[in-house]
């Protein structure tokens, strides 16, 4: 009887310490639980710094880059026009040489580009290590495309019909391992080229990027597909694929020196 009483008292005395240690454990684990909750409730977390793998690299599972902006199927009239152009003048006018933005279709295909994906409330920002050529992309998750002219960057500048990077909106499709971020871009100006050979595009250019986080062994990658359609310059829509490995490094300062 006494023994039972003694046990009873002991278990009651232990109770507060159990609650205390459980509470402490919960607080310690809170960041991990919070991250899990954020993942489960929302969408895959693709924040981080990534680098595109080289075209001669094959990842386990036979995953490798395919396609290239240099292989786009141009309309015969556009190819003919390009052949008559002065090659030297064309080379000199390449936006790449003068540290100007080259547009996402050409930029994302390059070997070894480093880009940081930064998600915040309602938007996703893509910041390129090579700021001059990639600049920054603002991709909106909370709205569809804007109808009409795109807002002017400055009150002193007229509203533009199109911009260098277009109006970029995105949404997540699918769940879990199949979740894919789909970025839809329209409303471009015609200042950028589609490839290194001066292939032009019209303001009807429509780009769709599909980004899916994948695991290859222990490493995290992004599978990236870029599709372009432009009835004024392309004979048919064209898609290329790239793989980006997640890096555990900081983005370094990168300066472009104008060759002009």
């Amino acid at each position: 009887m006494i023994k039972l009483h003694s046990n009873h008292v002991s278990s009651r005395a232990k109770a507060p310490s159990i609650y205390l240690s459980s509470g402490l454990l919960f607080f310690l684990a809170a960041p991990f639980i919070w991250t899990t909750c954020a993942y489960a409730q929302q969408t895959p977390n693709i924040a981080g710094v990534y680098r595109s793998i080289a075209n001669n690299v094959t990842l386990p599972g036979d995953l490798k880059n395919s396609g290239s902006p240099n292989e786009i199927p141009l309309l015969p009239s556009v190819s003919a026009q390009m052949k008559t152009a002065d090659a030297d003048a064309v080379h000199k006018s390449d936006p790449w040489r003068s540290c100007q933005p080259v547009g996402q279709f050409r930029m994302m295909a390059r070997d070894g580009i480093v880009v940081e994906i930064v998600p915040v409330k309602g938007m996703l920002v893509m910041l390129y290590e090579d700021v001059a050529h990639g600049l920054m992309r603002t991709i909106y998750l909370n709205r569809g495309h804007i109808d009409g002219p795109v807002a002017a960057p400055d009150p002193n500048i007229e509203a533009s019909k199109g911009t260098w990077f277009g109006d970029q909106v995105a949404k997540w499709e699918g769940e879990g391992d199949k979740a894919t971020l789909v970025i839809d871009s329209t409303g471009f100006n015609t200042r950028t080229w589609l490839n290194d050979a001066d292939a032009p595009h019209s303001d009807a250019l429509h780009l769709v990027e599909r980004i899916r986080p994948i695991r290859v062994g222990k490493d995290q990658y992004l599978e990236y597909k870029m599709a372009a359609e432009d009835p004024a310059t392309l004979a048919k829509p064209y898609t290329y694929t790239r793989y980006f490995e997640k890096l555990d490094t900081e983005i370094a300062e990168n300066i472009c020196y104008d060759e002009q």
């Binding site: 919070w34 909750c37 003068s98 100007q100 700021v131 807002a151 300066i255």
Partner: protein, 244 residues
Amino acid sequence: MKKSLFLAICTLSAIAHAEPPDWSGYYMLARGRDLAGLNVVNPDLNNTVKEHLQPWAKLKMEATNGIADDTGAVCMPSGILRAPGTPFSGNYLFLPQPDKIIMAFWEANTSRVRRIYLNRQHPKDLLPTWNGDSVGRWEGDTLVVDTIGFNDKSWLSADMTPHTEETHLSERMRQIQQNGNTYIELIGVVEDRHALTSAYNYTRYYKKQTVEIPEHICADEIEMWKQWRNDELKLQYQRAREVK
């Protein structure tokens, strides 16, 4: 029932996790009516800096051509030190992440992107860069930022006021509500024992915008700026020949 329990655990963990305040958004340097009730300290950065220059730095400033030597005008970086002195170069997207605060400037070619690391100290062997190396920490609701490792190619203000690699920038940022708007208050202190006689300070307010950040392409204006710069360089060359 399971879903409610999951949500309850998630809510509790979010409270316990104590995420830093979400200041994310697009901010522009506040001017005019937007500054009502706010105390902008040293609004004229040009004069403030000039009053603190050492004699050699003043001489260098006087010998510097405001057009020919302005890297920012030809889409090269211009650094962050002069940003508080000009209306547009200080506009930014504030992008908080768990391990760093990113400030992506509207004038991406010149002011570029600034990353303030919250999880480390300054590296020992720091290579000088245009925007330096920034580390930060939260003191309550204030973000305290320390930046060193600047190169000496940029200017402290639009008047081409020079500085050295010894420049040290200390900043305190906090979010405030005023006039029905949200602002980031930024208090900056700049020290440079080789270029300045003493430290100078300033306070600026950046208003959170309800519009999206527009695209800014330096290349849209670069031909005009290059022409201006080339004209100035030609003038300098002619003057040098005349002196000879």
